[in-house]
């Protein structure tokens, strides 16, 4: 199974994960992590522990969603992931991306899944009404 971790400022990630459960029901392999009150080194260590847990459990890939490019979440994720294959870090997480991840992860190849998630996230940002 491909696992995912949503790393954000404050409780954004935890709420996104909670809401996916409200829409799709309970899911496995999707969790959240906040950077609140943490040094970059501690955040990196927590991400590394999550990656190691997945590897030990036979996960076939890891997708890390972060809320913003260029922040501590993204930097810590990059440092934790290193150059290992089947790990991807996507910024700008939104609900559509998480729902897409949970829907497609069973059947898509890892690279295909990552590409679809980027496209899905961008498609979700659109002017839906108003003038």
């Amino acid at each position: 199974m491909i696992r995912a971790l949503v790393i954000t400022h404050g409780n954004i990630g935890a709420e996104l994960v909670r809401v996916t459960g409200l829409i799709l029901g309970p899911v496995e392999g999707l969790s959240a992590l906040s950077n609140s009150g943490k040094s970059l080194a501690d955040l990196r260590a927590e991400i590394s522990a999550w990656l190691a847990e997945g590897a030990a459990g036979g996960a076939t890939g890891a997708v890390i969603f972060v809320d913003d490019y260029g922040g501590s979440c993204a930097t810590a994720a990059q440092l934790a992931c290193g150059h290992e294959p089947d790990r991807a870090i996507l910024s700008g997480v939104n609900l559509a991306m998480l729902l897409g991840f949970l829907t497609w992860r069973e059947n898509d190849e890892f690279a295909e899944l990552v590409g679809r998630l980027v496209r899905k996230g961008r498609e979700a940002i659109t002017l839906v009404g108003g003038r």
Binding site: S39, Y69, A74, T75, L79
Partner: protein, 165 residues
Amino acid sequence: MPVVLARVDDRLIHGQVTVGWSERLRPDRIILASNAIAADPWQSRVYASSVPPAIAVSVVSLARAAAALKAPETAAERVIVLTGSAAEMSDLAHLGAPLPAVNIGGMHFGAGKVEMLPFVFVDRGDLDAMRRMLSAGLSLVAQQVPGGREHAVGLDQVEDMESRL
């Protein structure tokens, strides 16, 4: 090279710096001063990639940072200089880097550290470094973001924290 912000922040380059302080101070360059990160080209690239394209970035050793800050040929640049610890900022000052008041921007909780402020946790090494900077005539101001409350950190605060370790 006028230093518009000399900041101790264990997250180094992140939103509070690249958006918060940079929008306020409009730096031309961000210098990340760290011997460990500068020695690792891949880590250097990771940190550098977090800086918006309009701002130049240098990831260099403390010695190279001090030399750059003293160089007359770069005097026109407005610079934010970052270190990940108070000890590194103290070392930078000791190397002759011309620094304004030192901004204590983020020293997060860790083992053996006690809380000075909600965003400043210190251990003996941090307090020793603060003492060295104060003794060198630098003033220390804890402030996380522009417009946030400024907390002057003087010898009284350092001694108070030492008594709590």
